[in-house]
């Protein structure tokens, strides 16, 4: 390890130290561990920026730092050993993600000073320890240079979500939501772990990058046509890729494993910001980006990713339309937005997917922290129907929240417009040649309207109109620690799109698609992990309507028009002094949407209506049949041994004495035979 990269492990280590400090000494510290966390994440942020600068100057790093286990294993492609290691891979993708994660984590820590410390909350050391562990796990996950290490920290991220969602453990709902989050994502991770084991057994390596990576090994196997576990190599890559995707679908809350995420709103709002913007949910999509070279080799896997993404985007957006709780609206918007990222990745739009991941991290952290600020203003009221008119009472919160909302809705020139447009454009050009992708594109496009609608419904209900309760009339005040993160993120929500103004570049011919250059090896890069490497692998044809420019303008116009239409509809319905619900217009659809398409019902039924009775039946079978046979045999033999009854006094010490006496007698006999005592 040389130069700046020798500090890379510290990026993850700082928050780990903060975790230990907060857990062990938090209750003796002035801010109960907050300062340790702020300091640690500030350090991580600083070092992450250093890494970014190093990559910008053309350097990358890939190295093993710790050998976890080594051994022999005869794998399917004929390797005879395997190393399970912890290593660090710093390339454009991970350097960018490090900055995003540590920045959001830092701002969340600062925000927590105002949000959590203010109210006589007990258990703050536990809270800050959890945040520290969460940040540590996520940063380690981002740094990981191999799939097993990624899996391990992926799981630890799940643990942290359990601890933080269940932070208010004295309630009934929080522990239940925490359990659900862990269980549902664990169900996804089950497939992920099979995928890890399968890939290790196939290629004998789990490295993401380099000649020795499983990605390169898969390429070789496909080129050679090697049979893997009885399948053709492409089929096997598809199978293993989809198994890993199980973990992604769980963590990134894609259909059908999205049900944990709305419940996870039981955690503190700061935790929601962290989970949704930069850590747990982001981890899934980041993993797809990290091993994109593997998915790129399987058109089937890519199509499935795209379709799941497009479907989830629409599916979740429709549910967001009827929610009354401000955090619930944001929860469904998260599911929907990650759907876009999956759609982007699935059509081979690696840059678009990463771009949207970045923009979403900023504007979703902003919206959640903004919602947190609103919740403080409203004395912990989350129902939007009890708000209204906060615009004038809390201008900083309003204007920053509005910036986040414009970005989420995808209104030009806010960041979300550029990345969402790029995702949809990539989907469109592939879709023109592939009907499945076209369907995914259509769903993604339709979701834009709903996104514009629910976003502005939320803005209007919360901030516009007349105050509808006394609390909204006289809101609580918020301090600098709440305003500062909002302002930083508000600026990013407005400006982050500058990173990749692809349509402008195409129209004017200027070289301003910086993010694409960044991910395409214009700066530092790792062989095989660049955008054009991936692009060569992806087998999709691309089509255009008359010309590239026309297609682009058409797509952009369509998505912008739909977003504005959604916003305008919300304006007409809800931007009035005294808005009403208008839910009757939806008719029967309202009940379906309100019940989230009965997704929870069937999953709860699977757990409580199917598995639990099955377990109870197994238990009865065990007690009666299996144990019955055991007891039956013993009764029968005891009956035969009736004459031995006399020594069965039922007093345990008598049995003990007999046992010990017998044992000693046996030893004595053996001793005599062996001539021990002679």
């Amino acid at each position: 390890m040389e130069g700046a990269f020798s500090y890379a492990p510290a990026i993850a280590a700082f928050p780990l130290v903060a975790f230990v400090v907060a857990l062990a000494f938090g209750k003796y510290m002035p801010k109960k561990g907050a300062l340790a966390g702020i300091l640690a994440t500030a350090g991580s942020l600083l070092l992450s920026v250093v890494m970014l600068v190093a990559v910008a100057s053309g350097e990358v790093y890939h190295g093993t730092i710790y050998e976890w286990a080594v051994g022999d294993a005869l794998t399917e492609v004929g390797a005879d050993g395997i190393e399970f290691t912890f290593g660090i891979l710093i390339d454009p993708l991970s350097a960018l993600m490090l900055v995003i994660v540590s920045l959001v984590a830092f701002l969340v820590h600062v925000f927590s000073l105002g949000y959590m410390n203010g109210e006589g909350e007990t258990g703050l050391p536990r809270y800050y320890a959890g945040l520290g562990l969460f940040t540590f796990s996520m940063l380690s996950f981002v740094l990981a240079d191999n799939l097993l290490m990624a899996f391990m920290f992926f799981e630890l991220v799940g643990l942290c979500s359990f601890l933080l969602i269940g932070f208010w453990f004295r309630t009934r709902s929080a522990p239940s939501a925490a359990k659900k989050a862990f269980l549902v994502t664990r169900f996804g991770d089950y497939f992920f772990l099979i995928g890890v084991v399968a890939i290790a057994s196939t290629f004998g390596t789990l490295q993401f990058a380099g000649e020795e990576s499983f990605v390169a090994a898969a390429e070789t196997a496909i080129a050679d046509g090697t049979t893997l576990f009885g399948f053709g190599p492409e089929t096997w890559v598809t199978i293993t890729g989809l198994l890993v995707l199980g973990g992604v679908i769980g963590k990134s809350a894609q259909f059908p494993l999205h049900t944990w995420l709305p419940d996870a709103m039981e955690g503190p709002t700061t935790v929601s910001a962290l989970i949704h913007a930069a850590t747990m949910v982001a981890a899934g999509v980041y993993l797809v980006a990290r091993m994109f070279g593997y998915y790129a080799q399987s058109p089937t896997a890519l199509s499935i990713i795209a379709f799941v993404g497009g479907f989830t985007a629409l599916f979740a957006a429709t549910m967001g339309v009827v929610k009354d709780d401000i955090k619930q609206v944001l929860a469904y918007s998260t599911i929907s937005q990650y759907g876009y990222m999956m759609l982007g990745m699935g059509v081979g739009g690696y840059v678009a997917g990463v771009f949207h991941l970045m923009n979403h991290a900023f504007f979703k952290a902003l919206l959640f922290l903004g919602a947190g600020s609103v919740i403080v203003l409203m004395h912990h009221e989350q129902d939007m129907w009890k708000m209204g008119g906060l615009k004038d009472k809390a201008p900083v919160t309003y204007w920053t929240f509005l910036a986040g909302a414009l970005a989420l809705a995808g209104i030009v020139p806010f960041s979300g417009f550029w990345s969402k447009d790029e995702v949809l454009y990539d989907a469109l050009i592939v879709g023109l040649e592939q009907p499945v992708i076209l369907a995914a594109y259509a769903m993604g496009l339709l979701a834009v309207f709903f996104t514009g609608f629910y976003t502005f419904r939320m803005v209007f209900l919360t901030f516009h109109g007349e105050p509808r309760t006394d609390t909204a009339e006289n809101p609580h005040s918020v301090g600098w620690s709440i305003k500062f993160p909002l302002v930083v993120l508000g600026a990013l929500a407005l400006l982050a799109g500058v990173a990749n103004l692809a349509p402008v570049a195409k129209l004017t011919g200027m070289d301003i698609t910086y993010l694409e250059f960044w991910l395409d090896g214009e700066y530092g890069y790792v062989e095989g992990l660049t955008y054009h490497d991936y692009h060569e692998l992806v087998a999709f044809e691309e089509g255009y309507i008359s010309s590239e420019t026309v297609t682009m303008l058409l797509g952009a116009g369509l998505s912008l028009g739909l977003a504005v239409a959604g916003a305008v509809t919300a304006h007409v319905l809800y931007n009035v002094p005294e808005p009403t619900r208008h839910t009757a217009k939806l008719g029967g659809a309202y009940d379906v949407l309100r019940s989230n398409y009965y997704q929870d019902e069937y999953q709860v039924w699977l757990a409580e209506g199917l598995t639990l009775p099955l377990a109870r039946a197994a238990d009865r079978f065990d007690q009666t049949v299996i144990d019955g046979v055991v007891n039956g045999v013993s009764t029968a033999s005891l009956f035969g041994g009736d004459r031995v009854k006399r020594i069965q006094t039922g007093i345990v010490t008598n049995y003990a004495a007999l046992l010990v006496a017998g044992f000693i007698a046996l030893l004595l006999v053996l001793g005599f035979i062996g001539g021990w005592f002679l």
């Binding site: 286990a69 799981e155 453990f169 929080a174 772990l193 377990a615 345990v652």
Partner: protein, 506 residues
């Protein structure tokens, strides 16, 4: 002479504790048990064994004396350690010490006898893992049962007599089956004149048994393999021979449960590895599919049973059945990672299940109930103990960077690419579903008992647990994390001893 010293200290300590006054017995036994714990840790650090104890490996701390002769057969005192038994000996001594400390609160009658028996168990357990002569080994193997029988039968719960007798008779009948089969095998092996296990293993690998009583040699080997497998299967236990376990656990006092789950179950898997999987490679190959099926059934069925329980101790007890299923899967994979992972899992599960039983014990000490339905929100009253319980539960679920993950991951990896087992990927994937169910029942139990609003059906005041209840759990948690982060600490010596068993296979 190191092994003799370990056993002697524990045995003499047992006698001394037996006659010591009740009031000091606990502290005295703890002090005595520190000696073998420290000694075994030193032996571990100075361990210089190479290869497998039965397959011409260089033993560490070997000693062999002729003991007695029965017609043409010689019985020797023959002990020594290899990379498989060394970690298990350390597990035994450390867990005994911690179990003694965890008994200070719950055991309040006949203390000197109780602690004396714990030390007596310790001596025999060390003997089981160290002995390399079948007779010596069998004496220790049987002698373990007596103190455990008494610990359950005297200090146990309301149905202690039923549970103790069931435990004793069931495992004893199984031992008889195994003993008879093995003796028949030894008689049928040509040119074997001792009960030394390395010699028997060599004879088995050189050509196996000759015909005996008109039964062909290969048939005899298969019969013996099956009989011994059944004998050990009861001990492990695998489904359907598991029903003694939950009864024994529920009635046993906490420290007995810790030792039962932590070490006694490992006797079964250890013996399977030493006898069946080392001496009978052909039969292992022939019966691989049914054995793998038993393993998968144990994992899934055991986990389903755990899901149905409402007694915390029964939950942990059934989950042991599930976890030991993984061990069987790793063994039958017959790969370095499979068998090595299985051995690692023995140690890891010993630590984690020990921790879980201690945690349940601490809750019981405070609330006098173990029923999930009787309590909720305990985290409010005993935050540290609950914190450790939660950490232990996640360890049980195989959380990465804790030892359970390493054990399970290496087993899964080792069995997925098994060359021996047909349909290995499917068996592996089926068994792996256990990691979802285990999360289900443990999180469900945690949600209902330690989280939520505080409520307790019994009218006991629940306060923070005393330090000596919590300290042993801290030690275990530390070891679990240590082995999870640095598994090579023991995995290296394990694989060194495993390699000769799997021979050409990797």
């Amino acid at each position: 002479m190191m092994i003799e010293a370990l056993i002697a200290v524990a045995l003499v300590g047992a006698l001394v504790t037996f006659v010591a006054p009740n009031r000091v017995a606990g502290k005295l036994a703890f002090a005595i048990s520190l000696v073998p714990a420290a000694l075994s840790l030193w032996m571990f650090s100075a361990f210089d064994g190479v290869g497998n104890a039965l397959l011409e490996g260089d033993l560490a701390y070997e000693s062999q004396y002729e003991w007695l002769e029965l017609s043409e057969y010689t019985i020797s005192w023959f002990v020594g350690l290899d990379g498989i038994s060394m970690p298990l000996v350390v597990l035994t001594t450390v867990l005994c010490t911690l179990a003694i400390v965890s008994s200070w609160t719950p055991i309040d009658e006949r203390e000197s006898q109780f602690y004396g028996l714990v030390l007596f168990i310790e001596a025999n357990l060390i003997g089981v893992f160290a002995a390399l002569d079948f007779f010596v080994w069998f004496i220790f193997w049987e002698a373990v049962l007596i103190p455990m029988y008494l610990l359950i039968g005297v200090w146990g719960g309301p149905r202690r007599k039923y549970a103790a007798i069931k435990f004793f008779v069931y495992t004893n009948v199984a031992s008889l089956l195994m003993f008879g089969a093995f003796i028949a095998l030894v008689f049928a092996l040509p040119e074997v004149t001792t009960f030394a296990l390395p010699e028997i293993a060599a004879a088995m690998l050189a050509g196996g048994p000759e015909a005996l009583f008109g039964v062909a040699g290969s048939t005899l080997a298969s019969i013996v393999f099956v009989a011994m497998f059944l004998g050990f299967a009861v001990k492990v236990p695998v489904v359907p021979f598991h029903t003694w376990l939950p009864d024994a656990h529920v009635e046993a006092p906490t420290p007995a449960s810790v030792l039962l789950a932590g070490v006694l179950l490992k006797m079964g898997t250890y013996a399977l590895l030493r006898f069946n999987f080392t001496m009978f490679p052909d039969q292992v190959a022939a019966y691989s599919v049914p054995i793998a099926a038993i393993a998968v059934i144990s994992v899934i069925y055991g986990a389903m049973l755990a899901l149905a329980q409402t007694d915390l101790k029964r939950i942990v007890a059934y989950s042991s059945v599930s976890s030991m299923g993984y061990v069987i899967l790793g063994l039958i994979a017959y790969t370095q990672f499979g068998v090595g992972g299985a051995t690692f899992q023995m140690v890891s599960h010993g630590l984690i299940s020990g921790l879980m039983f201690m945690a349940v014990g601490v809750i019981y000490n405070a609330t006098h109930t173990r029923m999930v339905t009787d309590m909720s929100g305990l985290a409010d009253r005993m935050p540290v103990a609950v914190g450790i319980l939660v950490a232990g539960a996640f360890g049980y679920m195989g959380l990465p960077l804790m030892s359970g993950f390493y054990g399970e991951f290496t087993i899964f990896f080792g069995s997925f690419h098994s060359q021996l087992l047909e349909y290995a990927p499917l068996f592996t994937a089926a068994a792996m579903f256990g990691i979802v169910i285990v999360a289900g029942y443990l999180l469900f139990a945690l949600q209902r008992t330690v989280f939520g609003p505080y409520r307790l059906e019994t009218d006991y005041e629940v306060g923070r647990a005393p330090l000596h209840d919590v300290a042993p759990m801290f030690v275990l948690l530390g070891l679990i994390i240590l082995l999870g982060v640095a598994p090579e600490l023991i995995f290296e010596m394990i694989t060194d001893a495993v390699d000769p068993i799997i021979g050409g296979e990797v």
